[in-house]
């Protein structure tokens, strides 16, 4: 059994006989371009594909690819719809119910305190589920008690709480809860009548609640978390879902691409209403298009409430539009989306646009807005705030009176602009091939992009069939991002993830808080970004914690990794080799 882990580690670290090619030397001399011509051995090719198209090889993956044939395996990854999903993943995602909800369902089921108040006052409806309604009502009572006391009642156990708990539990049960075994504690909790359980949770002092949390099965764990404020569950579910999929999904390339494209069309979760909009955005806007047409992906983002809110377009108003002068004084143009569309989403900063193009594009998108953004929102075109005048974007005249089609025309122009084909191809090549991908490869990818009307699967195929992808110049040249380090470590040692939130925290600690990159640039695609002393130390510490079974919610099988092996694993996972992919 131990051997398997050691083998997996060896595979992950590529302990093959061929010396590693350093990214540094490659960049510094003309040797560089030649490195992209040197082909890898067949075994190296398999590792290269696993390292780039998955979140790291698990034990057995190399064998699987070998028996299937590399070409066929890659082709399967390019058609995730044909890959049966891992049933283990479905089981683990089941309790994360926010992941399948629409924006408006999220608002109703996971409201902010302010919204709960509106529900209690009858201004907005409660969720249909009676248990949920009860829970929210209780929560409201707690908020109000807290306010009445004029302080923060949650800051630790107090006499009133202890009293309340005493009313709900017999002294026998209370003793079991405090001192019992895991089973006794759970039994004591479940002995509480169902309608009183939320009260009991609310009354528990911090220590008791944490103690119960550590042993709780997923459903109870969720109820305990909810007591800290339902709205935070959305963020938690997103991060946990991302980690669980990265670790367990059989559709690995699909997951890698979902991460890539979310980051390309980045949204910051903590910007106001976006908390309720990002879940749907990732699920309905990004995921369905990652191997589809770029134009469709672009248009989906442009019309998504999440993007309209994040880059402020929903409030942008044509200066001469009928409704420009409203109750709140003059409203007008907001350039934010117009600029990032050109700079970050399509042409790239050197793609050949001017400030005038930014302003003109912004004029085209006036009226692209959101109905009720704070209630989960949906896209709408508001004719009354649209700038109806003539515009010129990137040399193309857009006639006056086009209404909503103005923005659609802009999307069409930029999606088919040659700079976009190049910019997108280069960014993909930076993620999958090398920090400074050879121009010859980028050219061929851009050509495919143009010939296929931006078919992203075809562009990926051009890249994955290239000699550059399977070259020594590319091999092990990329530094893993924090997400990649954490997910690949878990996969390498075949750890069991019961509760993924602590893993998501590790990713933050390493410098990449998920869904929380504030700037529209997203996280950097370049290795340099992640290579620094603080980050290296954090990676070593993560390796130690994981291998010593000290990351809560994650278990490295001690049968497989017995004590002496645990430290071997720690050292291997923190080693310089493991930081590369």
């Amino acid at each position: 059994m131990r051997n398997r882990v050691v083998l997996a580690l060896a595979a992950a670290l590529c302990l093959a006989a061929v010396p590693e090619i350093s990214a540094y030397a490659k960049k510094k001399n003309a040797e560089g371009s030649r490195q992209f011509q040197k082909q890898l051995t067949n075994d190296q090719k398999i590792l290269q594909a696993l390292n780039r198209l998955t979140y790291g090889p698990r034990s057995g993956d190399v064998r699987e690819v070998k028996s299937m044939g590399l070409k066929k395996w890659i082709d399967r990854q390019l058609h995730p719809e044909n890959i049966a999903e891992n049933p283990v993943l479905a089981g683990k995602l089941r309790t994360l119910d926010t992941l399948t909800m629409s924006g408006s369902e999220l608002v109703r089921n996971y409201p902010t305190p302010q919204m709960v108040r509106q529900m209690v006052n009858g201004q907005i409806p409660f969720p249909a589920d009676p248990d949920r309604k009860l829970m929210l009502t209780k929560l409201m009572q707690k908020y109000e008690q807290r306010q009445a006391k004029g302080g923060d009642a949650a800051a630790g156990p107090n006499v009133a709480n202890a009293q309340a708990l005493g009313d709900l539990l017999s002294s026998q049960q209370l003793r079991s809860m405090r001192q019992g075994t895991a089973q006794q504690r759970l039994a004591a909790f479940h002995a509480i009548p169902k309608e009183k359980q939320d009260d009991a949770i609310g009354a528990m002092p911090q220590g008791l609640r944490q103690g119960l949390f550590a042993i709780a099965p997923p459903e109870l764990r969720r109820r305990l978390e909810m007591a800290n404020g339902p709205q935070q569950m959305i963020t938690r579910d997103l991060s946990e879902g991302k980690l669980l999929r990265a670790v367990y999904s059989n559709r690995q390339l699909d997951e890698v691409l979902a991460d890539f494209w979310f980051n390309h069309f980045n949204i910051y979760l903590d910007k106001g209403a976006d908390r309720y909009l990002v879940t749907e955005y990732e699920r309905e806007v990004i995921r369905p298009h990652v191997l589809g047409k770029f134009k469709e992906l672009l248009e989906a983002t442009a019309k998504s409430p999440a993007m309209l809110f994040y880059l402020d377009n929903w409030q942008s108003v044509g200066p001469d539009a009928p409704q420009a002068r409203g109750k709140k004084g003059a409203r007008g143009l907001n350039e934010n989306y117009g600029r990032e569309l050109l700079e970050l989403h399509t042409l790239g900063v050197d793609g050949g646009y001017t400030q005038a193009d930014v302003t003109e594009a912004a004029r085209c998108f006036t009226g692209w807005t959101i109905l009720q953004p704070q209630r989960g929102g949906e896209f709408a075109f508001n004719k009354r705030v649209h700038d109806e005048g003539e515009k010129t974007v990137l040399g193309v005249r857009i006639a006056a009176g086009g209404g909503m089609s103005d923005g659609e025309q802009v999307l069409d122009i930029v999606a088919h602009h040659p700079s976009t084909a190049r910019f997108i191809s280069k960014k993909l090549a930076m993620r999958f091939v090398a920090d400074e991908p050879p121009a010859s490869l980028v050219d061929r990818m851009a050509e495919t992009f143009r010939k296929t009307d931006g078919d992203l699967r075809a562009v990926m195929k051009t890249m994955l069939e290239s000699k550059e992808f399977f070259s020594e110049g590319a091999y092990r040249s990329k530094l893993k991002s924090p997400l990649e380090v954490v997910a690949s470590a878990v996969r390498t040692v075949n750890a069991e993830v019961d509760y993924a939130f602590p893993l998501a925290n590790q990713v933050s600690q390493l410098g990449q808080p998920l869904y929380r990159k504030q700037e529209p640039t997203g996280y950097s695609n370049s290795s340099k970004e992640w290579l620094n002393s603080g980050g290296l130390l954090a990676r070593m510490n993560f390796a130690l914690q994981l291998a010593d079974n000290k990351v809560p919610g994650v278990k490295v099988d001690t049968n497989q990794a017995a004590r002496p092996d645990a430290s071997v694993a720690a050292i291997a996972l923190g080693s310089p080799e493991f930081q590369k992919r």
């Binding site: 907001n334 603080g534 923190g574």
Partner: protein, 414 residues
């Protein structure tokens, strides 16, 4: 081959590392570099997202300012104590500070804080990413520059070199400090260690044998810095003079910088950043002292003021300089916010700074005076400010290599 000096230095460092070295030895290790005098230190603060300079340093003497910003201008200074919290704090009869920067007003009055206005990068880009990159590389318009201006600006080291000459607070190493001199990124001093001593040794060996030279160098720098910090990590830190840093990352960053400087571990350059300045929408709340800009400025001003207090007379050797990638449109946009603009303001704080003055030529805000008809025009290049601090404060005269292709004009700030 290791030289004798190398050996001595490393055994001393090792003593520091295991906590066996008394504080005097640590200090002596570094004092040896600069007998008799403490090194000068430069702290750079980056306000990421393009701060709205016109609402930070308010040109209340300019009528056009109020015409351009009917709903988000900061009102003129008042003598009415009831309204003072929501009006500009007058500096010189023309400029005033945003009311949330009240903690910095005494520093200006005591002539420790200088302000440079209508300053920034001459490059016309309005891309956050490019503009930050240009300001941090110190080479506007040149993308090929690989290192940052702070790294190039370090004076040539003689004798023993601290691994902590350049420190950035945060999870990643910012562009401004990257370069040939090893630079360290840390989130906290306390967390900067491997939590298992046995593993630490093994990691150190593995990284020193890494095949990738970048990885090897990063490992070496890391473990040298870890050794240096071990002794400080054991001493709890209490800011001096009751300095009260605001909660949040920026306040914590400045507190850690103060701790590092006061511990004499050889810091010469420190970098911290504070994000969230990209206020396209509802920049001001119902009152000027409320809303996103006010809240951010409060944190920013309190942190700088606490740093000043905490550092005490050490500020004689320290200059803090602040910058943001570009300013924002002079005219408010359609959503009570501002879009990406051009020139901005910079703060320069220090014991040796000739403060109490707003430097730079005011270009005016009339239509024909605006840059491209929309933004505050630029009259001072940011490299004039940084160049002066590098040359006159740090004493590094090689401005031609630090800011290639540019000849900084000194303003007389220090």
């Amino acid at each position: 081959m290791p030289t004798r000096r190398f050996f001595l230095r490393n055994s001393a460092l090792a003593m520091v590392g295991v906590g066996a070295a008394p504080l005097w030895l640590e200090r002596a290790l570094h004092a040896a570099d600069a007998p008799g005098a403490r090194k000068k230190i430069l702290v750079a603060i980056f306000q990421r997202g393009a701060a709205d300079g016109l609402n930070v340093v308010v040109p209340h003497g300019e009528k056009a300012y109020y015409d351009l910003r009917p709903t988000i201008a900061i009102p003129r200074p008042t003598s009415d104590p009831g309204k003072r919290g929501d009006t500009a704090l007058d500096l010189d009869g023309f400029f005033g500070l945003h009311p949330s920067l009240a903690p910095l007003k005494p520093l200006f009055d005591q002539q420790h804080l200088a302000i440079v206005d209508a300053v920034g990068s001459p490059d016309p880009t309005r891309s956050h990413f490019d503009a930050q990159d240009y300001m941090e590389s110190g080479t506007p318009g040149r993308k090929a520059t690989e290192d940052g201006w702070m790294n190039r600006a370090l004076p040539k080291a003689a004798g023993k070199v601290s691994p902590l000459r350049v420190v950035a607070l945060g999870p990643v190493l910012p562009r401004a400090v990257r370069g040939s001199v090893p630079a360290v990124a840390m989130q906290t001093i306390e967390g900067f260690q491997v939590r298992n001593a046995e593993a630490a040794k093994q990691f150190e060996q593995m990284y020193s044998a890494a095949k990738d030279p970048l990885m090897q160098a990063a490992g070496r720098e890391t473990f040298e810095a870890v050794a240096m910090l071990q002794a400080i990590q054991r001493r709890p830190y209490t800011p001096a003079a009751g300095a009260d840093y605001p909660r949040g990352r920026f306040g914590q960053s400045l507190q850690q910088i103060a701790q590092l400087i006061k511990s004499d571990v050889g810091v010469e350059m420190a970098f911290a950043d504070i994000g969230g300045w990209d206020h396209h929408v509802n920049e001001l709340g119902p009152r000027p002292s409320e809303g996103v800009l006010a809240n951010l400025l409060r944190e920013y001003g309190q942190a700088l003021s606490a740093f000043w207090k905490d550092m005490g007379d050490r500020m004689n050797d320290v200059v803090v300089v602040t910058m943001s990638e570009f300013g924002r449109t002079a005219r408010e946009n359609g959503n009570r916010g501002t879009d990406h603009g051009h020139a901005n303001s910079m703060f320069v704080l220090g014991g040796a700074v000739k403060g109490g003055k707003v430097y730079g030529k005011w270009p005016g805000l009339e239509r024909e005076q605006l840059h491209e008809g929309r933004d505050l025009a630029l009259t001072t290049d940011f490299r004039d400010v940084l160049g002066e601090l590098v040359a006159r404060h740090l004493g590094n005269p090689s401005l031609k290599t630090i800011f290639p292709g540019y000849d900084p004009k000194l303003l007389g700030l220090v």
